[in-house]
């Protein structure tokens, strides 16, 4: 394996099956190994053999009961998502194109961001209160993101985002009147570029939810321009 995981030599390829099934390769190494699997029957066979063991490893965790409150949260969230899906379907039927709303101002402290034009696309009535869906501005080709606001809480749903480079992660920031505040939400996207992340805390005084690419472990101040900006208010 090369240092950046961009290629695999003959000697190393067989050795990567075990760390691959255990999730112990970096994102770049995993991507390279998946490409390698397309052409290496030996490694495919090795992965298949070891994958069944990795799939059994969850059973090695001490088994405890999921809290009852968690079920209420999950089922409530699923029912909300179901209502959102149904509402979006109805809306798409009667209004195929959504109007863009007003351009937003440049971000203070992020002068070069040039992030504009966020659109609130829906207010969805639900049994537990309305859900507001904000389409975010995304600076990546073919990527999209929406922020689902329920009361003062929000979830960011992302699709089509590029993988972060080795050693970097995406970080969520909250921007009110001042400079963006860091959160403890750092994430990577799936192989399809998808992620769903909960925005921590109340968004009552938050104007924008931002996402930047930061070194693994996160930053206290943004080191890059935002790749996602969702306007809350």
């Amino acid at each position: 394996m090369s240092g950046d995981g961009s290629r695999l030599d003959k000697e190393a390829c067989g050795a990567n099956a075990a760390p691959y099934v255990l999730g112990a390769l970096t994102d770049a190494e995993s991507d390279a190994f998946r490409r390698h699997l397309e052409t290496c029957a030996v490694c495919r066979e090795e992965v298949a053999a070891l994958q069944v063991v990795a799939a059994a490893l969850p059973a090695a965790a001490p088994q405890v009961r999921a809290p009852n409150e968690l079920k209420r949260r999950v089922i409530s969230a699923v029912r909300d998502a179901r209502r959102d899906r149904a509402s979006e379907g109805r809306r798409a039927t009667r209004r195929p194109s959504l109007p863009a709303l007003r351009p937003r101002q440049a971000l203070a402290g992020l002068a070069a961001a040039a992030i504009v034009a966020l659109a609130v696309i829906a207010f969805v009535p639900g049994g537990g209160g309305s859900v507001r869906i904000v389409r975010a501005e995304v600076h990546a080709p073919r990527a999209s993101a929406v922020l689902r606001l329920s009361g003062a809480r929000g979830d960011l749903e992302i699709a089509g985002m590029p993988q972060t480079p080795p050693g970097r992660v995406y970080e969520v920031w909250l921007k009110g009147a001042g400079a963006p505040r860091p959160t403890n939400v750092l994430f990577t996207v799936s192989s399809r570029g998808e992620a769903t992340v909960g925005v921590p805390g109340s968004l009552a005084s938050v104007k924008d939810v931002l996402v930047t690419s930061e070194p693994r472990g996160g930053s206290q101040v943004p080191t890059r321009e935002p790749v996602i900006v969702a306007r809350v208010s």
Binding site: L22, A49, V52, A54, P58, A59, V74, I75, G218
Partner: protein, 179 residues
């Protein structure tokens, strides 16, 4: 799962009831913190709900699929806490013991299977079980493990492979043991 794909929340609730304890147990083992484990399971369940249409039965059971999502999300959660909340994570075990559930026959069978997997892991030489646990439950890469143990990367990979191969021998075909 077909009903879940069609958007049946009631069907999803059945799926949740079957697998929630296993999902929470895995998330709790990795995160070491109850609230974080709950967030991980909720995220994973929503992901399963939204991506149910992509479920392919030929590639494994719903349980395996869900636990795979939980594992990925829990590792992500663990890694993003490395700077700000490192002190809150207990990687060595359960920080908050929860009561064991009452057991149905199915749960009892799964408990037996879980014991077999734990036994297979415990019977490995310590250096092999350690690298497997650091990787799978600790979220560390092979390079991080090598650095932590001051051991060559190739040795770490070799221990992982040997350990998993021995577990496979001990368990027969564990894919069938985890429905």
């Amino acid at each position: 799962m077909q009903l879940v794909r069609r958007g049946s929340a009631a069907a999803f609730e059945v799926v949740y009831d079957r697998h929630a304890d296993a999902a929470f147990s895995l998330a709790y083992r990795i995160c070491g913190q109850r609230s974080l484990a709950e967030d991980v399971v909720q995220e994973a369940c929503l992901s399963l709900w939204r991506s149910g249409a992509r479920y392919d039965r030929s590639r494994g059971s719903v349980r395996t699929w869900l636990l795979g999502i939980v594992h990925n999300r829990a590792i992500d959660a663990l890694r993003r806490r490395t700077v700000r909340d490192r002190g809150l994570v207990n990687r060595e075990g359960i920080a908050e013991r929860l009561p064991a559930p009452e057991r149905t026959d199915v749960e009892a069978a799964r408990r037996d299977e879980a014991r077999e997997v734990r036994d297979a892991l415990d019977q490995l030489p310590e250096e092999q079980s350690r690298v497997i646990e650091l990787a799978y439950f600790g979220g560390l890469t092979h390079a991080q493990i090598a650095s932590m143990l001051q051991t060559p990367v190739g040795t770490v990979k070799g221990r992982m492979r040997l350990g998993l191969a021995k577990m496979r021998m001990a368990l027969g075909d564990p894919a069938e043991a985890v429905p």
